[in-house]
Amino acid sequence: VTYDFADFYREAKDDCLRTVVLSTGDPELAQDVVAEAFARACASWRKVSRHPNPRAWVVRTALNVRTDRWRSRRRELPLVEPADDGRHDPDPVDPAVVAAIRRLPERQRQVIALRLLLDLDTETTAGTLGISAGTVKAHLSRALATLREDLKLKEQIS
């Protein structure tokens, strides 16, 4: 069976983007780095198509691209007052849940995203992030506990 890149892109693009959005908290940057990761997958499709989990490969590559760009661009300065010229149209997300996820440490966000959005098992998640399976379990457990507590508090307040 030939697994065509076009089929892969169509089926995997949203899941990969959502995983990276959740991991990074930045929808616009996520579009950019996921597109670059898919382009690299396409350029090396013969190899990537044989990867045990091409979606995980794309997400790992996107996170690396993002880290690379972040390192190169950390001289950014925040502007207090935005100049909204109407060209920015971020994807809609649930602000309460996203805010709760964003408060998690980055590694916990990545574990949550890979486990819950890409449905990766513990071993594959560990391999994708370059950490041990035990660390994945610990991060997932802590992240879920924190989210549960955070969102429960919000429910009580509202």
């Binding site: 169509r10 983007l17 690379d68 390192r71 190169s72 971020p90 996820i101 969102l151």
Partner: protein
């Protein structure tokens, strides 16, 4: 709250997030990557082409070229001013006319790409390319951060940066860009060294 409820909440949080980049753009970028790979693997002939390209860049954009236009150009959106030392001050007040700012910087001898909406996807970082698919170690600091090429300045009139063209290395340009936060109501101005190329720095 059960784990299944939490999982549903997390999934629902991003369910309306969709990849908007068309497949044709991805395939086009992949074609470029494959071409570069072939050139890189092309041996002596490829190296000759690369060397010639760098030479043309260096001749076309000399670091100390005389500036034939006024030392300061101010628009409503931004100001570019050249100090006597040759350092270029850029101040941004509004996210308008990035093409004009880009043209002015290039006229000042700086191979530049300016975008006020995300990054220029044609630009490649000048330094530091981790191998594909390999995790990168934390705590690394690219050498360009300390080389004085440019400095970000908060400034009362608006955020800005100082660019020192004499610090530009062969084949090096800069990218100025804006990143928006997830909420869309805040943004950051940034810059970084990039490899010069017709699609990136002109």
């Amino acid at each position: 709250m059960k784990d299944t409820d939490l999982t549903t909440l997390v999934r629902d949080a991003v369910r309306d997030t969709h990849m908007t980049v068309p497949e044709s753009d991805i395939v086009g970028r992949a074609r470029t990557l494959r071409t570069r790979r072939r050139v890189a693997l092309g041996g002596a002939a490829g190296a000759g082409v690369a060397a010639a390209a760098f030479a043309v860049t260096a001749l076309a954009i000399p670091a100390a070229s005389p500036v034939s236009h006024p030392a300061t150009l101010q628009t409503a959106a931004w100001t570019v001013a050249e100090q006597p030392s040759g350092v270029i001050d850029v101040t941004v007040r509004e996210l308008k006319d990035p093409a004009g700012l880009q043209a002015r910087l290039r006229a000042d001898g700086i191979p530049a790409s300016v975008r006020f909406s995300g990054f220029n996807p044609a630009c490649q970082d000048y330094n530091y390319n981790p191998p594909l698919g390999k995790p990168v170690a934390d705590g690394q600091r690219p050498p360009w951060m300390d080389d004085g090429l440019f400095t970000m300045t908060p400034g009362a009139a608006g955020p800005g940066l100082e660019i020192n063209p004499s610090r530009l290395r062969s084949g090096e340009g800069i990218q100025i860009f804006v990143q928006f936060g997830a909420s869309g109501n805040a943004f950051t101005l940034g810059g970084g060294p990039v490899k010069t190329s017709p699609a990136c720095t002109g």
